[in-house]
């Protein structure tokens, strides 16, 4: 289900996680842990955000010996603007959800994690 911001609840949770420290490069697993999303949901979201130019990705330059290189992600300048606006819209329009629709909330929101930009 889409929120008025135009992003799904899962996408908003990814944007929120990336917004925590917009200048920092983040790993997929760290984002998955923070958002509570599985890899099969997280990566399609990252792909679509990257296709829209909201997220940039690169490979780790100095991998840990014996381990494969990791892919890193962070918001672009456009991404920061879009994420801030979307999260603000989402927080403004958020209403207490009835128990039946609680699953539509982001896992992070369910755990009571603050969304940046929310008052």
């Amino acid at each position: 289900m889409r929120s008025p911001s135009g992003f799904s609840a899962q996408t908003l949770s990814v944007l929120s996680a990336l917004c925590d420290e917009p200048s920092q490069w983040r790993h997929g697993y760290a984002l998955a842990r923070q958002t509570g999303l599985k890899s099969g949901t997280l990566y399609p979201i990252l792909i679509r955000l990257a296709d829209r130019g909201l997220v940039e990705a690169r490979w780790q330059e100095e991998p840990v010996p014996g381990r494969p290189r990791r892919h890193l992600y962070r918001l672009t300048a456009d991404g920061v603007t879009a994420a801030t606006a979307a999260l603000a819209t989402a927080s403004l329009t958020a209403t207490p959800a009835p128990p039946a629709s609680r699953s539509a909330l982001t896992p992070r929101a369910r755990r009571g994690v603050a969304i940046p930009g929310a008052s």
Binding site: M1, R2, G6, F7, S8, A9, Q10, T11, H27, G28, Y29, A32, R33, G36, L37, K38, S39, G40, T41, Y43, P44, I45, L46, I47, R48, L49, D51, R52, G53, A57, W59, R67, P68, R69, R70, H71, S103, A104, P107
Partner: protein
Amino acid sequence: MSPLSRAAARCAMWLVPDERRDWAAALWAEADQVPPGRARLAWRASGVRFVVREARLVARAASALAFAAAAVWLVHVAWPGPASNPATGLNRLTVVTLLPALAVLPLLVRWLFGPVAPGPLARVLRYGTYAAVLVLALAEAVVSPVADNPAAAPLLNPDAPSPVKDGMIATWLNQSVFLFVVAVYVAAVLALTARRPRVAPATVAVGAGTGLLLGAVMYAIFPLGLTSSVTNPLLPGFAAFMLVALAWILLFAAPAFASVVAARRYRGLRHADTAEEVGPEQLRKGRFLQGVAAGFLATAIGALTVAVLGTATVALMPRSGWLLARLYPGRHLTAAAAYLPELTASVRVTHYLLVLAIFPVIGLLIGLGGGEAADTNMPPGGGPPPPGGHEPIPDPSAGIGVAADDADAPLAA
């Protein structure tokens, strides 16, 4: 990374499209960072789901199964038959050449022109063309034993084509030309809907839409094979001349319209990944290509539509009382009485080969002119860009979010 995991990663990267390979590799590499045990297993299992979705494995498997089922059906219908009827050998030739060609052509076109263009339209046109060609082959396999039956030769007009009169060399040559033309159709549609030729989705839509309209009008006039006059028994005789004239006008007007509209509408393709800008020279060439592609598609799809619908109608005629009653309302045709119209229509169906062979050439020539004419009438640089900017190649996975019901349960980290 264990050898098994490395093999799985390699397999995943081979399956997903080129532009998704980095992401599949990233997902698989990241599995090493997940604590071993259930969490890592869950990461990989969800990763398999990602690969299945990005590689469109379900759609690929479904289309392969559908093709296999249609191939089995075609073999079942076309292979049997008496050795005395020349159509039996011709139908077997169709089976042993057309089915392998349909299976190999996508691989060949992918190698030459790249994978299928993004967006649903390219896939719909490809699936539609395959379905049309298979139905045409099936209907042809049903109709040709009637038309080529040596026992029916004395009933035919002296100028009607028949293996008995024309000889087997001419008959085999005729069938070989038919198969070659069908293979060219499939190859052309596959190439125009591939990524490298950069045919815009709007061009495919205009060309295919105009082609369907042309085919529908042609079918309404010539549903029971092609002759110099109307073959639709439902149409009034006095309108026959005007309708035939309309069909000929449409044959030339449809590709001209499609090519001019496609060329004028084109403002350049901008790929989401590269965001490359389109220069005036590139725009001019692109516009010309869109005009040619739309002109060709309009007539090729039109010819394929009328050939498929017409041949299928004739194939169904003796088997469907409902169809016979629709074609000849108010007349109670016994099986014996229905045989002559069926035989006549079966012979006339062979003339659709002319339509299949000539229409696309006309469309191509008109498209060449249309693309050039549309470009010379446009202001330098193609005029102002459209309100939304250049036409993007649509994202196959349009939409930014994943639907709530499509999401996984939270990861137990």
